[in-house]
Symmetry: C2
Subunit: 239 residues, 2 copies
Amino acid sequence: MTPVLHELRGRDDRLRFSPFCWRARLALAHKGLAAELVPMLFTDKSPIDFCDSSTVPVLKDAHGVAMDSYDIFKHLDAHYPDSGDGLLIGDAHAEARLNFVKVYTEQVMAVGFFRLVALDLLAAIHPDDREYFRTSREARFGMPFEEFNNVEAARGILDSAFKPLRGLLANQPFMDGDAPAAADYLVFGFFIWAHIVSDTSPFGETEDAGDPLVQWRERMMDLFDGMARKAPRASEIPQ
Amino acid sequence: MTPVLHELRGRDDRLRFSPFCWRARLALAHKGLAAELVPMLFTDKSPIDFCDSSTVPVLKDAHGVAMDSYDIFKHLDAHYPDSGDGLLIGDAHAEARLNFVKVYTEQVMAVGFFRLVALDLLAAIHPDDREYFRTSREARFGMPFEEFNNVEAARGILDSAFKPLRGLLANQPFMDGDAPAAADYLVFGFFIWAHIVSDTSPFGETEDAGDPLVQWRERMMDLFDGMARKAPRASEIPQ
C-alpha cells in the first residue's frame, strides 16, 4: 500500500501548515517515499478514528501505524533504514542528542514563532476550527490571541533562540552535518509553519543573506525539488 | 606509555578547575584509562612546547598528540573505540548533534557560570597568572571583573540556559541517554569548574533536590568512583 499521512488542513485544503505534519512529510521525502496526504480538522477527527491518537500527523503504511512525528521518524528508520537518504535518527547517542534538539525546539524556540504569527495562524485555520483553537490556546497562553501575538516579543525570543543555531550552522551546512536528517526536520517544521501562514519574517524587517541561519533555511526550502518552497502560502490564497 | 594529560593548575597544585581539562579527564575515565596529570600555568607553557597548541588540555599517548578537548574525544574514540564505557561521540548524526550541544554549552550557558564565579575564579588562579588572566578576560568582557561578576545576572542567564537541559533530563537520566558520554562531559565541565572555584551554587540560594538538573549533576559527581566529587575545592585549601 502507498503510505497515508494524515495531516491538518487550513481554511483552504491547499493550506497545510502544521509543524509536526511537516516533520513527517520531510521525513517521508528523506526516505524517498511518496505518500497520500489526507486532510483532517481539529473539529472532525473521524479520519483518524482507526487509531488511538487524537492528533496528527498519523502515518499508516504496510508496516502499521505510527502516531506523532517523532514516532514516525522511528517507524521509518525501523522499516526503511537504507531508503532514500538513509537513517533519520542514527545510533543511541544520536537519538539521545536529537532529544535535546527536540526539547530546545519545542520548549525554547517554538513560542517565538507562535507569538510572531498567532493571528495569521488563526486566520489560516479552517473556520470550523477557529473557536476550538482560540479557546484551547488562550487557556494555555493565559491571554488573548491579540495580546499573545506580539512581533517585538517574538523577535526577542527568536533572536535569543537562534543564537546557538547560528553558531552551529556557521560551521556545518545542516544541523545533522553535511546533509539534512531528523534534527533539521525537527527545527525546520517551525520555520515552514510560520512561512506558510504569515508573511512576517522571523529574522526582522530585512533578512541578512550572509546569516548562516537564513542560508540554512534557504537550503531547507530547496530540498526535495523545492517541496517546502512550493507549498502554497496563506497570502497567496484569497480568504 | 601511560597517557599524559596536560592541565591548567591553580594557586595550589591540587586546584585543577579548567572546564576543558575536565572534559578530557572525564573522557579518559570513560575509556577506563589512567593518565598522568601534568600541571601548566598560563604564564609558563613550556610543558606543552612539544606541540603546536598554546592551550590545555593536551593529551599525549602511544598513538600521538591530541589538542583541545573535542579532539581528545575524537582521538580516544579512534584509538580506544571499545574501551571502558565505549564510544564518546558515536555515528555521524551523533557527532553533528554533539556540535549543537557544544555550541549551546559554550555560547549560551558558559557565560552564566563565568559571571557567577569570576572573582572566585580569579582568586583560585595561580598568582603568577592573575594579571594575564584579568587583562585578557577584561578585554573580552569589556568590563572589569568586579562588574562582570554579578550573581543576579548570572542566575538569570543560567535559569534560561538550564531550561532545555531540565526539559531533556526530566525524560532521560543523562544527556546521552541511559549512560553518560560526550554530551554529558561537555556540559558538566562547566558545572565542575564552578564547583571547584566557588561555593556559590548555580541553582540559587537553595537547591531543589527534585530538580532533574540537580539530580543529573549529582549523578555526574558520582561517576568513576566520585572523581569529580573528590576533587579539592578552593574553599577547602587555605589561601
